[in-house]
């Protein structure tokens, strides 16, 4: 249903238009699209299907497809409809799509995106329009705080990730870390800061080195890090930059362990890194070869369907739809389908692929186990890290 082109008018005008019942049967009083529990739940999905973090979009979407199949086969799940938009790994586009999905497509809930900077734009639009939004994979701590009570996520956050990485490094006796930061990404800045805090609190020393997302030549970062002669190189960034960075560091960083976060979790990473023989660890949400049945079953099914082994984004894509439809079912059964965000915030014990998910925390962020993966030809399970429950 199209009420008005996105470029006209204020929310007040929108409200006036929406007030006409013939024009907008499914809308609430604020003009926002509200689910009535009878028709299908319309889910707007915004993912990076192309550009820098394209594998994230592809994996998340594939994971959602598998979840959709399972949910449709399950008795009692409300009907739903997924509307996919590509944010092209770009924050402005993520925000624009969120606005267009709410106003033009009249979606009842938004899912997305992956990079924290992009999800922030989606959450802003969702908050302004009063539409619930949930991200599968954005870990920046501030997101759900600034996004308000309608926003939530199914992944852990960077304060947890940064601390577990610091503990992992200190437990191995790596006392001096060179921290490599992408100045243009909220995810990178946040993760580096949490790592630094926990690492220094544990007696470690750090030095900071900056690059930006657009860089292709990383020789300056590489040389500056090498000059510091650290025990460990901590890379807070996304695979599309860190992969080539490690490749270019061949012969410079040899023998230095490299540690990163879930931003490195992509099947492209080993290819980008090449045969540098670097010792690379990353903390993430899922590993295809982890010794947990739920992960292995999912990985086998994903692989025979899509022809490749899944990364964490696939698992989180699966989990996000599971959590969302579980909440939708509860909201409908309770006779309050318009209270979808509250139902999401009351999520308890949903058995996801990554872990069991509870969203009853103050910032609607689950407390979940992490895994540490080692890059060795491909992404290989190294160890599990239990959440502080």
């Amino acid at each position: 249903m199209r009420t008005r082109p996105a470029r006209f008018g204020s929310p007040a005008l929108l409200a006036a238009l929406a007030a006409a019942p013939l024009l907008c049967a499914g809308c609430g009083d604020a003009g926002r699209p509200v689910w009535d529990g009878k028709g299908p739940l319309k889910v707007g999905v915004i993912l990076p299907m192309t550009q820098q973090t394209a594998t994230y979009g592809e994996e998340s979407w594939n994971g959602m497809q598998l979840a959709a199949e399972d949910l449709r086969a399950r008795e009692g799940t409300p009907a739903f409809e997924l509307v996919l938009r590509d944010d092209r790994s770009n924050k402005q586009e993520a925000g624009n799509h969120a606005k267009a999905l709410i106003e033009t497509e009249q979606v009842h809930v938004l899912v997305g995106s992956v990079a924290s900077s992009n999800t922030k734009q989606i959450f802003m639009e969702a908050r302004e329009a009063g539409v619930p939004a949930i991200t599968p994979a954005s870990t920046n701590d501030r997101l759900t705080v600034e996004g308000g009570p309608l926003t939530s996520r199914v992944c852990f956050k960077d304060s947890f990730q940064g601390r577990l990485q610091a503990e992992f490094a200190l437990a191995r006796g790596w006392k001096r870390a060179a921290v490599v930061v992408d100045k243009a990404q909220d995810y990178s800045l946040g993760l580096a800061e949490f790592f630094k805090q926990a690492y220094e609190a544990g007696g470690g020393q750090t030095s900071l080195h900056y690059y930006v997302t657009e860089d292709t030549d990383f020789s300056s970062v590489i040389e500056n890090v090498a000059t510091q002669a650290p025990d460990l190189i901590f890379v807070a960034g996304y695979y599309e930059q860190i992969g080539p960075m490690i490749r270019q560091a061949k012969g410079r960083w040899d023998g230095k362990p490299i540690l990163g976060g879930d931003g490195l979790d992509s099947p492209e990473l080993p290819k980008l890194v090449g045969d540098t023989q670097a010792e690379i660890y990353l903390s993430t949400h899922f590993a295809a070869d982890a010794p947990f049945e739920r992960m292995r079953d999912f990985a086998a099914r994903y692989k025979s369907r899509f022809g490749k082994s899944p990364g964490a984004m696939a698992a989180l894509g699966y989990d996000v739809l599971l959590v969302l439809m579980d909440a939708a079912r509860r909201a409908r059964d309770a006779g309050t389908p318009d209270q979808l965000a509250q139902a999401i915030a009351q999520t308890q014990g949903v058995e996801g692929v990554s872990d069991k998910i509870d969203l009853t925390t103050p910032d609607r962020t689950p407390i979940k186990d992490a895994v540490i993966v080692k890059v060795d030809g491909g992404l290989k399970f190294h160890q599990a890290v239990p959440a502080p429950r």
């Binding site: 300056s220 290819k271 045969d275 030809g377």
Partner: protein, 399 residues
């Protein structure tokens, strides 16, 4: 909206001097030791800028056109090289030692050079020649349009996401494997998806550190495995040395082409006065086409070297290097061949060394995140002092 204004991070990093420096350089020796790799990287990067800048400067020298699509010829060459290296499998040719990989690269570089050259000739014929008489602004705008068109065609054809550089594979017969494997040796194994599609994926047959004893060899042979491969990532030093060497070989060759051959003479004549040259019987269109071909030919080689050095190829890969090469050509004095080479090297070194000096001597920790801005500021400074560039001549425009 509070969300827009408030940064996502409650407390961003203190800008300068954040973190404890882990090692402090002891005196001047340490300083120069640290400077050296930046200087060498600067030359490596500068050589690639010089390669691209040559094309800008030659085309400008002849028809006074700033060919903004030149970076896209570079990108096209890079993709052609990528597909050659990924799909031709020339490393399987049975030749001793590293020769199969050398052959693989030579073929990829040649294919990339010719493909970029042909694309340039085609572009000139279809887009630039029709507007050659329409004035320089029309030609300049056409060039910008062609640049955007080629970028978008590349996105359409090959997708917008970056692809990892396909590392060459070194093949070996199982019988020839060393006693103890130093690398992982792979074989591609097919498996089928639910939909029946066949997909090849690499599987490690002999892991690094494994002792390759007769029993293992027999076990592999029993499974029908006779050849295995390992991937070889070339290191940046070698690639940068290759680019510098190629530049050292190409510069005198180009000088000879321009100064000693008939085509070169014709080019210089056209550059002097196109109308007079045509009246003297010089085939203007052919000379212009040849110039475009030569410029893009070298850019194609630069493109493959660039993606091998930096590890990925994507549709906008030519944009920033192209822009910087243009800057390099301007620094050197656009239209001058030695100027383009020198300008490229100066820009490359500036981009590496100036932020290093600012970081070390002025204590500006974030200098490297601003290296492009610093390099472009330097350009403005050069142009203020020498508006025609280093080798440019001040010419009076005839009215």
């Amino acid at each position: 909206m509070s969300l827009v204004a408030a940064p996502l991070l409650a407390a961003p990093f203190p800008a300068a001097g954040a973190g404890v420096p882990l090692a402090t350089a002891p005196g001047a020796v340490g300083f120069f030791e640290d400077l050296l790799p930046f200087l060498l990287n600067g030359f490596g990067l500068g050589a690639i800028f010089a390669f691209i800048a040559l094309g800008y400067t030659m085309v400008y020298g002849i028809i006074k056109l700033i060919n903004f699509a030149h970076g896209e010829f570079f990108m096209f060459g890079a993709y052609v090289g990528y597909f050659c290296l990924r799909d031709l499998e020339l490393e399987r040719v049975a030749l001793p030692g590293p020769l199969p990989i050398v052959l693989d690269f030579l073929v990829a570089l040649t294919a990339a050079a010719f493909a970029a050259g042909l694309l340039a000739v085609l572009t000139e014929r279809l887009a630039y020649r029709p507007v050659r008489k329409a004035g320089r602004i029309a030609a300049l705008l056409t060039a910008v349009g062609v640049s955007l068109l080629l970028q978008n065609v590349a996105m359409r054809l090959w997708g917008a996401q970056a692809r990892a550089f396909p590392d060459p594979k070194a093949w070996s017969r199982v019988a020839d494997l060393p006693e103890v494997a130093r690398d992982d040796w792979h074989r591609d194994v097919a498996f089928h998806t639910d939909a029946g599609a066949e997909i090849l994926e690499p599987r490690v047959e002999v892991a690094a550190g494994t002792r390759v004893d007769p029993a293992l060899r027999e076990a592999l042979a029993a499974r029908g495995v006779d050849h295995v491969y390992r991937t070889v990532t070339l290191d940046r030093d070698a690639l940068q040395a290759f680019v510098l060497l190629a530049l050292l070989l190409w510069a005198p060759l180009l000088w000879w082409l321009v100064k000693r051959t008939r085509m070169g003479k014709a080019m210089r004549a056209v550059s002097e006065d196109p109308d007079a040259a045509r009246l003297m019987g010089i085939p203007l269109d052919r000379v212009v086409a040849a110039t475009f071909f030569l410029g893009a030919f070298v850019a194609g080689v630069g493109g493959v070297a660039y993606i091998a050095t930096y590890g990925k190829v994507f549709p906008l890969v030519g944009f920033l290097p192209g822009l910087k090469a243009f800057v390099a050509a301007v620094i050197g004095g656009i239209g001058s061949i030695p100027g383009a080479i020198l300008g490229g090297l100066i820009l490359g070194v500036t981009e590496m060394v100036l932020p290093f000096l600012l970081q070390r001597l002025a204590g500006w920790e974030e200098a490297f995140a601003w290296k492009d801005a610093i390099a472009f500021a330097f350009l403005i400074l050069v142009l203020v002092v020498r508006p025609t560039g280093l080798f440019g001549r001040a010419t009076r425009e005839k009215v």
